[in-house]
Structures are given as structure tokens and as C-alpha cells.
Amino acid sequence: MALYDTRRRSNAIAMGLCWGAAGFGILFLALILAALLWNGVKGLSPAVFTQMTPAPPGDGGGLANAIAGSVLMTALAVLVGAPIGMLAGTYMAEYGRASALTTIVRFINDILLSAPSIVIGLFVYEVMVAPMGHFSALAGAVSLAVLVIPVVVRTTEDMLLLVPGPLREASAALGLPRSYVIRRVAFRAARAGLITGVLLAIARVSGETAPLLFTALNNQFWSSNFNAPMASLPAVIFQFALSPYKGWQQLAWTGALLITIAVLALSVGARALSAQRTSK
């Protein structure tokens, strides 16, 4: 019986530790979200969406230019990155399913997917900011596009691989060329999945700070000029949080809350879309 007791005891200890780990992890993540909500909501007002970022000491004002900058740069990044990513993913899932190129691209893409984003910022600085001689929103958008591509490549390939082969065979048997089969049949069957990938990519880049710091820099004023520095929410949060001014710090919290809500909404949306797909 002694052996039995020992085994039971070690099981109880180990499982207790797992319970503890789960409690510990969930506690901290809940603490972070609670602090974010508590501090962020305090600063939430219409002015946040209508007024420009204030000069020091940062009383009043809002985040309008930063929000607009983030939306503009993210939109351009997705417009540039998503088509490239989709085409590359299409090649990997359709034309080159068995080719060596696909294996290599998949491997490299997976590494790009988790490569440090600050290095991507340095890369874009080297190829765009330095030759142009000044910081610009265009460079910021390009660095975000570089982050969009791997996410879209990955989801496009995965989603196209889920499309049943017989569907392709049936359309090919009707005499449709390969490119039509892909665009008219496979793309359409995988549409929800492809949109999911784009949503995930937007969620990924909308919180990215590091690559924007030395590509788009920051701008205290409203700007829609892609050839000039542009404000973005993450960059503003970074600058304001590290400042000594209370007003700025409050805006940083509010901005952080806005980003988190946006990212969570996008991820939930993407999840709902793909769930809809699988239930069909």
C-alpha cells in the first residue's frame, strides 16, 4: 500500500502545481487587463478621437492624429503586403506543392514570422530612410508590410490546402485551366480563411511599435503626407508613457486600451469567421 500512497501523493502534488501554474498565469494576465481597463477608461472622452496630441505638459488634447496615422499606415501596409503574401501562399499550396522551393520558402517564412520586428525596422531604415534622407510614413508602412507578408503567406497556404482536391479535379475536368481553377474555385472555397489571414495580419501589425520608431518616427500634428513623418498610436504611447507629464501618461494608457480593444476585436472576428467556415 505504501507504493500506492506514494504514487497518489506525487500525483496530487504534480496536479496541484499545474492548478497553481494555471492560477498564477491567469491571475497575472487578468491583472494586466484590469489595470489597462481601469487606467484607460479614465481618459476616454470624445476629445481623444477629435483632438491632436498635446504639447507638454500634455493637458487636454487627444490622439486623433495618432489614430489616423496608425489606420493609414496599416491600410497601406496591408494593401502592399497582403497581395504579395497571398500570391506566394497560392504558389506554395497550388503550383509548387511538392517543389523544393516551397519547402524552403515555408521554412524562411516561418522564421520571418517570429523575427524581431525591430530588426525589420533597421532593414527598412537602411533601404528606405537612409537613401531618402528623411523619415517618412511610407517607410513605416513598408516595414509593417514586411510584417504582414509572413502572416498572410502562412494562412493562405494553410487555407488553400484545406480546399478538397476533388473540387479542383472536377473543375479541371471541365476544361478550365489551372489559373482559373485556383482563382474561381479554390479562392472562392477558401474565401473566409483568406480574410481571416488578412485580419490576423492587421491585428499583428496594429500594435507594432519597434519598426515604426525609426521609419515613420512620430509627428505631433495631423498629417496625411506619406513622404513625411507620421504619428502612430504605438509610437505615441512609447513617447508619452516614458514622459514625466501626467496628461501624456494618461493618454498613453488610453491609447494602449484602444489598441488592445482593436487587436482583440480583430482576433475575435477572425476566429468567428473561421469557425463559421468549419461549421458549414
Binding site: 499545474c18 501554474a21 498565469g25 500570391l87 520558402v105 532593414f123 489559373s179 482559373y180 508613457a241
Partner: protein, 350 residues
């Protein structure tokens, strides 16, 4: 022949129901008197279109490869002045002095490795514990919602963790936890140097802790996915001969998924090494190597984020880019190993 054209006439509009110039043309042409001539031209267009689309997708795939190549080449090119000026000594010098224009990466490399390794020491056991909880212990009703919550948390931008660390966690550590640690470890020989000094709040230990919280959801969700690849029969057989849950985890699930778990951990490590925002807020940006974990330090990414836009002079900028190159090489190796391991478990599951 007639039958074939008949099929084509009917099926093309069905397959591509929406308006499309090519298929429209195919239909009108085929219906017309010059059926075969029209078909030939449509087929030519099909072939051309096919070739174009194939080339387009293939070049996009190659562009992904070029992207990685471009990153490496441009970083290397950008760091040439620093490499020429300092050579190999860049890696072994602790001096980072913008005034004298002398730079060494050792303090930043040390900070990066120490914060990441400490973070993994904390996050791996807890993350695996959470994964075990989710696969074995959690009530069935909560399993899905908790799993989804953890996956969502893995997507939260790192700047959120950074701002929480700066405003809430670091002041809390400074006021309540660090004085206690210093008091308790004071009389113990080795620990007293490890936890020496005034409680700054910010510092290496704080940064490591924030990193740990940040990579925790990653490790948990990957470990959970990997645990799910274990065939139920294996687990049922072990339960059937009377194994406890812990014994099943230790002797069946973990050995079966070892490669995948290590891959997931390495992926988390890659994430921690390159993480910028969560660390920059709380590390203190001090270019020195101190024995105490409570002292401020720096990491490669924090140095770049803090100093790049203020860097004047080619050598300063170039040194920062060389730091970026070093970071990229380190993470590349870690991530490559992680992917190779995860690929192995995927093959096994398939």
C-alpha cells in the same frame, strides 16, 4: 468533337458564373459560326493567363526569400563601418561610450541572454503547467473558453505588457518585493551579490518577469496543441493499466511530444530574445554588466529602440545596426532550431 464543344459551352459559364470577359467570349465565339477558330484563341488566352499567373505567384514566393536575404545583406552593409572599426572586439567589449565614439556589444548581449533565459526559467514550467491544466484537469466546460482566452492573450501587443510593467509592476516591486528580497538574501553569501543594491523597481529581474508573462501564453498554446497530437489510445492504455494522471503525463505524453515541446519553448525563446517594447520600458537602459539582478541593464533591442533616432555620427548608427545584426543572427539560429523540431512533430502527427 461536337460533344466536347457542347460540354465546354455549358460548363464554362457554370464554373465561372460571374461576369468575365474571357468566358463570355468563349460562349459567344463557340456559339458562332467560327467555333473552332474562336476556341483556339480562347485556349491561347487560357494558356497565356495560366503562364502569367504561375509566374506571378512563383515570383511572389521567391520575393519572400529575397526579403530575408535583403534583411541580412542590408544589416551587414549597414554595420560595415562598425565592423571595420572594432572588428571582433565589438563582441567582447563592455564599453559603450557615444562621447568617445567607442562601442562594444557585450553588455547588451549579456542583458539579452540573461533576461531571456531568466524569463524562460519562469515561463516554461508555468506554461507547461497551464497546458497540462488545459488538457487534463480543467472542467470540460471551461476548456474551450480558457484555451481561446490564452490564444487571444498571445496576440496582445507587447507594448501593453511594457506599459503595465512600467506603471504598475515596477513600482509595486520597488515598494514591496525588492526590499524584502534584499533583506532576506543579505546575509547569504552568493545570493547577496545576486540581489544586491537599492531597489530601483526597474532592472534586469523586472524585465525578465515581464518577458515571462508575455511568452507564457505562447508556450501554453503551443504546448497544448502539441499535447493534443498524442493519440488517445496511448493515453487510454496507460490509464487502463492504472497510471495516475501525473504518470501518464510524465511517461507517455511528455516523451511522445518532447521534440514538439522543445520546439515550442525555443519559439518562445526566439520571441523573448527579440522582444523590444516589453523590455525597453523596464530595463533601465544602463550599459553595464552588474552581478546584481536588481540593477538596471540593457538588451540589444532596448538599446536600439532607445538610441537609434538620437544617434549622431556614422559609427554610432553603424554600431547600433551591428547590434541588430547580432540579434538577428542569434534569433535566426534559435528559431531555425525551433522550426525544425516542430516540423518533426508535425510529420509524426500526420
Amino acid at each position: 468533337m461536337n460533344e466536347a464543344s457542347d460540354v465546354r459551352e455549358r460548363t464554362i459559364p457554370v464554373a465561372a458564373r460571374e461576369d468575365d470577359a474571357v468566358t463570355d467570349m468563349a460562349m459567344t465565339n463557340a456559339a458562332g459560326a467560327t467555333a473552332s477558330a474562336g476556341r483556339a484563341s480562347v485556349l491561347r488566352r487560357f494558356a497565356l493567363d495560366d503562364l502569367l499567373f504561375r509566374t506571378l505567384t512563383r515570383s511572389a514566393a521567391i520575393a519572400v526569400l529575397l526579403l530575408l536575404g535583403g534583411v541580412i545583406v542590408s544589416l551587414f552593409y549597414g554595420s560595415m563601418p562598425a565592423i571595420r572599426a572594432f572588428g571582433f572586439g565589438f563582441l567582447t567589449s563592455e564599453i559603450w561610450d557615444p562621447v568617445a565614439d567607442k562601442y562594444g556589444a557585450l553588455a547588451a548581449i549579456y542583458g539579452t541572454l540573461v533576461t531571456s533565459i531568466l524569463a524562460m526559467l519562469l515561463a516554461v514550467p508555468v506554461g507547461l503547467g497551464v497546458a497540462v491544466f488545459l488538457t487534463e484537469l480543467c472542467p470540460h466546460k471551461l476548456r474551450r473558453p480558457l484555451g481561446i482566452a490564452i490564444e487571444l492573450l498571445a496576440g496582445i501587443p507587447s507594448i501593453i505588457y511594457g506599459i503595465w510593467g512600467l506603471f504598475i509592476f515596477a513600482p509595486f516591486l520597488q515598494a514591496h518585493v525588492q526590499p524584502l528580497i534584499i533583506a532576506v538574501t543579505g546575509p547569504v553569501p552568493v545570493l547577496s551579490t545576486l540581489f544586491a543594491g537599492p531597489p530601483y523597481g526597474i532592472g534586469v529581474l523586472t524585465a525578465a518577469f515581464i518577458l515571462a508573462i508575455m511568452v507564457l501564453p505562447f508556450i501554453s498554446s503551443i504546448a497544448r496543441d502539441v499535447f493534443d497530437t498524442v493519440p488517445p489510445v496511448l493515453k487510454e492504455a496507460a490509464f487502463g493499466i492504472g497510471c495516475t494522471k501525473w504518470e501518464v503525463m510524465r511517461n507517455v505524453v511528455l516523451p511522445y511530444t518532447r521534440v514538439g515541446v522543445i520546439g515550442g519553448v525555443m519559439l518562445g525563446l526566439g520571441r523573448a530574445l527579440g522582444e523590444t517594447m516589453a523590455v525597453t520600458f523596464v530595463i533601465g537602459n544602463a550599459h553595464r554588466i552588474s552581478a546584481s539582478l536588481l540593477a538596471p541593464g540593457t538588451t540589444i533591442s532596448a538599446t536600439i529602440a532607445n538610441e537609434f533616432t538620437e544617434a549622431v555620427g556614422d559609427l554610432y548608427t553603424s554600431s547600433l545596426i551591428e547590434l541588430g545584426l547580432i540579434l538577428f543572427v542569434i534569433t535566426f539560429i534559435v528559431l531555425a532550431i525551433a522550426r525544425l523540431m516542430l516540423m518533426r512533430i508535425e510529420k509524426k502527427a500526420a
